[in-house]
Structure formats: C-alpha cells, structure tokens
Amino acid sequence: MTSANVEVLALDEHTVEIAITGEVDLSNSETVQDELFAAIANHLATVRLDLAGLTYIDSAGLRILFELADRLRLLQTQCEISAPPGSASRRIIELSGLDSLVRLRP
C-alpha cells in the first residue's frame, strides 16, 4: 500500500509551505492531489512545495505537479519546488521538463 503525507509546514498571509513525504504513485495520486490543492487558498502569492522527504514519485505524481504549476500560473501565484540534488524527485522533475515551469530549488 502506497502512502504519502501532505503537511502544511508554515502558513502566513502570503505564503504557504507544504511538504509531501512518502511515496506517490497511481494508487494514491488522487488523494495526494486533493489534499495538496485543498491546502492552497486562492489569496496566496507564493506556494513552496518541499519534496525532500518524497522517496518515490512516478508519472502519476508528476501529473499532480504539472497540474499544480498550470493552475498556479493561471492564478498568478508563484510556485517553488524544493528538491535537493540527488533526491528521488529531483531527477524525475528535471527529466520531465517541469523545471521550466516552476522555480526549482536549491
């Protein structure tokens, strides 16, 4: 059973910081997307996503990130994704071309 956790680390008037930990694949991607999107209110100016604790992500998970990037671009909300070099998500994000749509850190 694949399990992931979506946790709001910090929230102020303009910015939310959310960490996704665990694993994301087709079996839980819908739940992860629902939890993630529900944690983002439309008044925010910046969304920071911390993927350092994500040990597995496949194309189903990437679809969530592309969807998020697309929605936030429409809302004129900044999207930053933190995925340390060498982490499971970093390589996948770079291969997919998502790094051209979001600010990838560090």
Binding site: D34, F37, N42, L72, L74, L75, Q76
Partner: protein
C-alpha cells in the same frame, strides 16, 4: 487427468491408437476455456508423442507472420514474442504449403528460430492448423534426442491440430465480435453534446447479418463556435470496419479543427484514406453549422442527402451535389459544398443507406416513405417514428444510423443556464453560446460585441479569482425581458483581491458596456448581475 506413459509411443495397435486419440478429444477438455484448452492440449501432446516441446504459432491479421501464441517445454517462445514469416524456415514452410513436415536434424538452414537450436532440439514435426479451410496457424513438436517421427505420429498430431484449430478459431471470432461491438459502442456518442439552441437525437441499429457494420456518426463543436456533424458508412463489417471507422472519425475531427470549409475537410480525409487506408472506402456526409445556426454548409462524399423538415412544409430530401466516396479512384476530386438555410424550428435528418434500402422495395420508395414519415418537432419522436415506419419488425441485413438535428424556435430559447468548469478553455464555449443565443432575442451586432466582452470579463474574473488550484464551477444564466437582456455570472468560491497587471481595466470596461452592473459577494460565492438595454432595431 489422463496419464499416458511415453512407452506407448512404441506401440501402434488399434486399441492403443484409439486410446491416444481419446486423450486429446476427451470430454473433460470441454470444460476448459480456450486458453486453458490450448495449454492442456500442448501438455498432452508432449506426453503422447514423448516430445520435449510443443508450440502453437498463430497467423497474424496480415497473413504474413506466424506468432508464437502457446508453448509447452519452450515457454520462452511466447514470452519473447517469436515471429516467423510465412514461407521461411520450418513453421513458415508448413504455413505456406499447408502440409505436415518432419525434420530429423535441425540446423540453421532448415529452422530460422534460434531458440529451437539453442534449446538443443534436433527433430521436429509440425502440422498446419486449419479451420473451415482457412489457415490459422501451425502446431509443432520437438525432441532433444534425434527421432524419426512416424506417419502415425503425424496423424495424431493432426488430430490435436484440428482440435486446436477449432477452439482457437471460435475463440478468435468471439473475441473479434466482442471487440468490434465494444469499439462501436465507444465511438458512437451515447450522449450527444449539449448545444444551446439545438436539439439532437440519434439511433443506431446493428444489422442481422452478424456483428456490427461500419456505420458511424459524430457531433462536436469547434473552438470557433461552429458545430460539426459527420455521418459515414465504411464498406465492410466486423472488427476491420470498426477499427477503420474509429480512425476515420479521428481523421475527420483533426481536419475539422483546421478548416471552415466542409469540402476541403472531405478532400483531406479522402487524401488521408487513399494514402493510409488503401483498402478502404467510405461514404461521408459532413456538415458545419455557423455559430448563429442560421446556415449549414454541407459536403457529401457518396452519402445519401439529408432530409430537411421545415415546420408547415412537406419534408424534402435536400437537392445538393454528391461527390464520390472517400478512398476511391487515384486522383482527388474537387468537392462541392452546398449552403442550406435552416430556419428556426427546422430539423435536418442524417441517415445511412440501411434505413431506406430494402430487398423488397426500391430506394426511391424508401426515400418517399422517409419523407412522408418525417415530421417537424421533437427529434426523439422523429427518430422513433422513422425507425418504426422504415424498419418496423423487419430484419435488416445492413446496420442503420440516424441522427436528427433541430434548431430550436426562438420561443424555446427564452432563458438558458449553463454550468462550466472554471477553466480558461470554457471562455470560447461561452462566447460561442452567446453568439447563438443573443441573435435569437433580437440583439444587434453591436449589442452582441459588447455583451461578449462584458460576460467574458465576468467569466474571466471567476476563473482567475474565485477558486484555488482545486477549481470549481462557473454558471452563466441568460434571459431576455422586453428590450433588456439580463445575465448573471456566478461561482461558489471566495474572491481574492485583484492582482496582476491588467486588473481594474476589466471592471471599467464592464461598467461602460452595461446599463446595470452589480456584484454580490456572499459566503457561498459571488454573483455578477448584468442588465443591458438592446440598441438593435431602435
């Protein structure tokens, strides 16, 4: 399970042969499904003939390749998807000659499949699989030790082969019929698109001659607001016709996106079919409605002309030019387009030849009956009436497709409410709907242009400000009263403060272009109320 000692191979007494034949025709096998039967028979035939491997290769659709489909003792053949060209090597030779073949010493010159000699097979015997006189594949067995196969061995192998051929053939044709009808069900839109201002109904009935035919229809709108209707009849039946039909439908849609000229669309479809589907011929009627729905542009590729039903007038088969079907001839033809006025309240009825062609009556009689049966009004009733009058309880050889498109009366359009997902792509849909609806309530071109901007701005605000990334709904309601048009644009989100570079300008525009503009923010969402006094006709 019946166990036969390999030693029995040496004996050829009549009783023994009978016992061996029973081993592969025994009734317990009847309880197995086709795939299990295949594997069980391969295991038994190895036992009976003391063989180390047994393989079934089935002929693919092209008739040019044998594909390893079941194997015992050399399962990797199936896992690796081994393919042998008909005419080549051992199995290929059996397929080409339809005769049994034996080889005592396997080598690269007689056997093309490297798996066989890598495995150490030295002797092979094989028979063709024939069902109803048609080749469907090859069955062969192999032994590691050199072995002269006898005439009796080959006869027994052929008994197994016949059994296999029968089971496989019926499984393949069942699977094909199921696939063809699944494909057809998927392709024909069960729910026709909801287009404000239009009423749509359709019927499809498969022919009795067995399985689905090649009739298809499609209704879709373009981002430009044009409405497209296609109906076609691919020559052929079953899975081949259904797969061609599915590709043809996609081809029509692709070219439809690129052109506002139905003749050009059909010319490109024709070119496409002649190049990529050389064995295919199809009739197509392809029509495009202007966003106002006032006029339909129609091109016919060998298809029967639709029937136009104007209220208060006798129904008529449209007198329009017919060009050849797509996929015939070697040179493209110039395709003609007829422009048909479609008054409010009128219906256009598309159909395939199965509806009007019967063995016991002429085409003209069929068309006359169709004209007499067709009445203006509800399209559901029209489809039912036409099917009942022209088909009734008669069995039909050919399949039948019927599609009725009615332009609603202005009176029926008094008020409309549309619910969209709040995403940018729906803005074009909203404009297309407005372009159809506004003229029906007496707006001038200036009114239309202004209202498109006002409602577009209000819709954009909802899409941009009302919801977070999870999104939500955008509802547009329109009604007219006297010389006023009222519109409400509402959502169930919470608006955030304006942001970005273009903000503020939209609101200013909306105020300038309306007679009344009111925004109600509430805990359950926001509604923008718009009133606009019409200038048209003043």
């Amino acid at each position: 399970m019946l166990r036969i000692m390999p030693s029995s191979v040496d004996s050829d007494s009549a009783a023994d042969r009978l016992r061996r034949i029973e081993a592969v025709t025994d009734t317990t096998l009847a309880h197995l499904d086709a795939a299990q039967l295949l594997n069980e028979l391969l295991v038994r035939v190895r036992d009976l003939l003391a063989a180390d491997t047994a393989t079934v290769l089935l002929l693919d659709r092209s008739g040019q390749q044998l594909i390893a489909s079941a194997a015992s003792g050399i399962e990797e053949e199936v896992r690796q998807g081994v393919r042998i060209a008909v005419g080549e090597g051992f199995a290929g030779h059996i397929a080409a000659t339809r005769q049994p073949l034996m080889i005592q010493q396997v080598g690269p010159t007689t056997v093309v499949n490297p798996l066989l000699w890598e495995k150490g097979i030295t002797s092979l015997a094989g028979v063709p699989l024939l069902a109803g006189g048609e080749l469907i594949g090859v069955l062969h067995i192999g032994t590691l030790a050199p072995r002269p196969f006898t005439e009796q061995d080959v006869q027994l192998l052929q008994v197994v082969g016949d059994r296999l051929a029968l089971a496989t053939h019926s499984r393949l044709s069942r699977a094909e019929r199921a696939a063809a009808s699944a494909l057809q069900r998927n392709l024909l839109p069960t729910r026709l698109p909801h287009v404000p201002g239009l009423e749509l109904s359709a019927r499809y009935a498969p022919g009795e001659a067995g399985g689905v035919g090649g009739d298809w229809y499609d209704v879709f709108t373009l981002p430009s607001g044009w409405l497209c209707v296609a109906m076609g009849d691919v020559v052929g039946r079953g899975l081949p016709a259904a797969t061609v039909m599915s590709r043809l439908r996609t081809t029509v849609r692709s070219y439809a996106l690129d052109s506002a000229d139905p003749g050009e669309v059909l010319s490109k479809v024709d070119q496409h079919v002649r190049h990529f589907e050389p064995q295919t011929m199809s009739t197509i009627a392809y029509a495009m409605w202007e966003p106002s729905l006032d006029r339909m542009h129609l091109s016919l590729a060998g298809h029967l002309a639709p029937v136009l039903i104007v209220p208060g007038e006798p129904a008529s088969v449209l007198d329009v030019p017919v060009d050849p079907p797509v996929g015939v001839g070697s040179t493209p033809v110039r395709r003609r387009v007829a422009t048909i006025d479609v008054p409010a309240g009128s219906t256009v009825l598309f159909y395939t030849d199965g509806l009007v062609e019967r063995r016991h009556r002429t085409l003209d009689d069929g068309l006359r009956l169709l004209r007499e049966s067709a009445r203006a009004g509800s399209t559901e009733l029209l489809c039912s009436t036409v099917m009942s009058r022209l088909v009734g309880a008669d069995p039909t050889d050919d399949d039948i497709a019927v599609l009725a498109v009615r332009r609603q009366d202005t009176g029926e359009l008094g008020a409309i409410t549309l619910v969209f997902p709040a995403v940018p792509e729906v803005l074009a849909d909203i404009r297309a709907t407005l372009r159809r609806w506004l003229p029906s309530v007496g707006t001038s071109p200036d009114d239309i242009a202004d209202l498109l901007v006002v409602i577009g701005e209000a819709g954009s605000n909802v899409i941009e400000h009302a919801y977070g990334p999870a999104g939500g709904e955008l509802t547009v309601a329109l009604r007219s009263h006297g010389r006023d048009v009222f519109a409400t644009i509402s959502d169930s989100g919470r608006w955030r403060p304006p942001r970005g570079t273009h903000r503020g300008r939209g609101t200013q525009l909306m105020e300038q272009l309306t007679d009344e503009l009111r925004v109600e923010h509430g805990p359950d969402g926001t509604t923008v109320h718009i009133r606009r006094r019409l200038t048209g006709g003043e």
